[in-house]
């Protein structure tokens, strides 16, 4: 995917590494249905070290997402589409109402 918005991706990673997580802010992590990749199967002999590195980084980054706030919940949408708000707006609305009720 072309980076048409001129994001400095390398700098962004460094910046986010130095940011605080969400503490106790009410937080909903809404994944698309089946949105979590299961990297259980190895990629054969091609680029095995690269594959293992990517797999381990992915597993860790997903685990880290679940520790961002002490007041969080994880939900899955009814759609497998990435644009959940477009294909399943009702779930997004439900989760926003949940957050509004937390305040």
């Amino acid at each position: 995917m072309k980076n048409i918005a001129l994001y400095d991706l390398k700098a962004n990673e460094k910046i986010l590494n130095e940011t605080n997580a969400f503490r106790d802010t009410p937080f909903v992590l809404l994944w698309a249905k089946d949105g979590i990749w299961n990297p259980g199967v190895d990629h054969g002999e091609d680029h095995k070290m690269v594959w293992n590195r990517m797999k381990n980084m992915y597993i860790k980054s997903i685990a880290d997402m679940n520790t961002l706030s002490s007041n969080m919940k994880v939900e899955f949408s009814r759609t497998t589409e990435h644009n959940v708000h477009f294909y399943d707006p009702e779930t997004v609305i439900e989760q926003l109402n949940y957050l509004l009720n937390q305040l």
């Binding site: 995917m1 072309k2 980076n3 048409i4 918005a5 001129l6 994001y7 400095d8 991706l9 390398k10 700098a11 962004n12 990673e13 910046i15 986010l16 590494n17 940011t19 605080n20 997580a21 969400f22 503490r23 802010t25 009410p26 937080f27 909903v28 992590l29 809404l30 994944w31 698309a32 949105g35 680029h47 070290m49 690269v50 590195r53 990517m54 980084m57 992915y58 860790k60 980054s61 997903i62 880290d64 997402m65 706030s69 949408s77 990435h82 644009n83 959940v84 708000h85 477009f86 707006p89 997004v92 609305i93 989760q95 926003l96 109402n97 957050l99 509004l100 937390q102 305040l103």
Partner: protein, 190 residues
């Protein structure tokens, strides 16, 4: 056809038109309280806000995406009846000003902070981040923690995802072909 039958047919046509109007809901004109390009600190960004009640909900779009694309209509239609909801176009995208150099999530956050001041949308905010939108949400939350009272991340980019991509290719550990290297460079190019 009798007069009663004609009236009945006309009634059905009106009813059908009315129902289509309802089902299209957000496809029609929503009551935009704020719409336009406003100062975001030396740059003008496009923003649209609907509804009025606090806390305001601020939408951060995904990678290369922008608020004015029109993907949020159904959410806006419902939520704006209760709370204010704003979509905006990050710099260099959609109806916002172009940039002359690369930008970071801190730039984005500071611009949004100024933009929201410009349009008098005061905190507290609930931040929504879709996909890559999770990045500016986290940066904004770090820079202005008192402003953010709730966070919804939708199928988000995981934090660290791009260092994964950046760190993927290490010549000292494995060799790669030219097309793979070209793909990587295109993804990271700007």
């Amino acid at each position: 056809m009798s007069k009663i039958q004609i009236l009945s047919v006309n009634s059905k046509i009106w009813l059908l038109t009315f129902l289509i109007g309802i089902s299209n809901g957000y496809a029609g004109e929503l009551n935009k309280d704020i719409i336009g390009r406003f100062d975001a600190g030396g740059i003008k960004l496009h923003i649209e806000c609907y509804g009025s009640k606090s806390p305001s909900i601020i939408v951060h779009s995904g990678f290369n995406g922008y608020g004015s694309e029109g993907h949020w209509g159904a959410v806006i239609e419902k939520i704006s009846q209760k709370n204010r909801i704003c979509i905006y176009d990050r710099a260099h995208l959609g109806k916002s000003d172009k940039l002359s150099k690369a930008n970071t999530v801190n730039d984005t956050s500071k611009q949004l902070h100024t933009l929201l001041k410009s349009v008098d949308v005061k905190p507290p905010y609930i931040m929504i981040g879709h996909s890559y939108g999770s990045y500016p949400v986290r940066a904004y939350n770090h820079l202005y923690p008192a402003d953010v009272v709730g966070i919804l991340l939708i199928d988000p980019s995981q934090y660290g995802q791009w260092s994964n991509r950046i760190g993927k290719w290490k010549p000292e550990t494995e060799k790669y072909n030219k097309s793979q290297e070209a793909d990587r460079l295109e993804e990271l190019s700007y």
